[in-house]
């Protein structure tokens, strides 16, 4: 028996390509994870912890058959961030997550474009019927993105950390 991670889906949007993570993404993730920019995902991390986290994200593709996409600009394979379906053991329900790794790539609508595609993939190809995004209440940019995606606060939803805000996504129009 062999685990084989191949033919993972590639999503294309107007400006972006969303693909599975690969080894060359590691230095970009590392720079993000070790920086204060990672403060809303449990960081900044130590080197070893950042590497284990990245390995975990990659490995989930092989184990679960889906996972977080790295997104890049069309025609340039340099990773800008990550977005996608996320459902760890003990997580209250299925989540759509997102991160933008470099400050220079913020404020351009890239995360919105990528997360929209990831959400549509989850509701479409993966057959999800609902999804949430759990967001630190101080993460104003992420809250704004959730609202722009059309997600709505769900104050009654279970959450991994009591202080988190939970935004619930609705199925995109036309999704099964």
């Amino acid at each position: 028996m062999t685990a084989r991670l191949a033919d993972t889906p590639v999503l294309e949007t107007r400006n972006l390509v969303l693909r599975a993570p690969k080894p060359g993404d590691w230095p970009h993730w590392r720079d993000f994870a070790l920086s204060p920019r990672a403060c809303f995902i449990g960081g900044p991390y130590e080197l070893g912890t950042a590497w284990r986290g990245f390995a975990h994200i990659v490995g989930m593709w092989a184990i679960l058959g889906y996972g977080s996409f790295v997104f890049t600009r069309r025609g340039d394979d340099a990773p800008l961030g990550m977005t996608g379906p996320w459902y760890p053991a003990d997580w209250p329900e299925r989540e759509i997550g997102w991160t933008i790794w470099g400050a220079a790539d913020e404020g351009k609508g890239l995360a919105f474009e990528a997360a929209s595609a990831a959400r549509d993939h989850a509701f479409g190809a993966l057959g999800w019927t609902t999804a949430v995004s759990c967001i630190d209440p101080d993460n104003a940019r992420s809250i704004a993105l959730a609202e722009r995606l059309g997600a709505r606060r769900d104050p009654d939803a279970p959450r991994p950390h009591p202080e988190d805000l939970v935004y619930r996504h609705s199925a995109p129009v036309g999704a099964a």
Binding site: T2, R4, G48, R52, A55, H56, G59, P88
Partner: protein, 177 residues
């Protein structure tokens, strides 16, 4: 069109299959990682959410390094018995052969059989010319296994987060244990 390709080989020994971790291993793996006694030398016990991440990490290591640890399973029943194999996160002093056994794998020489197969794999397929195993002070069963495999102890390694670990160096390639 694929963004990622990952191939994990399967090794076989007399009693064991060394294969890729998969989702059906999670229950056995989580039982191991949440067991305080079995993880006392490994920084545990962990929550099952952490075990989920760690199972993913085992597979992702293959993608990032081109090699990684195997789930050791009974060759006949495929029951998962432990996690053994080449391991080299960036905060490690050099590549190691790591081993940990679930309760179901204890006491039958399974760790030795799997560790030897992993070491042979690392030398033959990965081209390693040397290998270590890191062991926490007081982990007497693991130290006994290192000695049984012919390892010799070297100066300790002090990890910035996990603290002091014993360094045991394996016999070089081509040396019968």
């Amino acid at each position: 069109m694929s963004g990622t390709t990952l191939h994990i080989p399967t090794l076989r020994t007399g009693r064991l299959t060394l294969r890729a971790a998969r989702w059906s291993d999670f229950e056995a793996y989580a039982a191991f990682r949440t067991d305080a006694g079995r993880t006392r030398f490994l920084g545990g016990p962990f929550t099952s959410a952490q075990a989920f991440e760690q199972l993913g990490e085992i597979v992702g290591h293959w993608q990032l390094r081109g090699y990684g640890r195997f789930v050791v399973a009974d060759r006949v029943t495929d029951q998962p018995l432990g996690v053994v194999g080449p391991f080299y996160p960036p905060d490690w002093p050099e590549p190691e052969i790591a081993w940990s056994l679930f309760a179901a794998g204890e006491g039958r020489g399974i760790a030795a059989e799997a560790a030897q197969a992993s070491l042979d794999f690392a030398y033959r397929e990965l081209g390693w010319t040397t290998a270590i195993s890191l062991i926490t002070d007081g982990n007497l069963r693991s130290i006994a296994l290192a000695e049984r495999l012919g390892c010799t102890r070297e100066d300790d390694f002090v990890h910035p987060q996990y603290g002091r670990m014993q360094v045991w160096r394996h016999l070089p390639p081509g040396t019968p244990a």
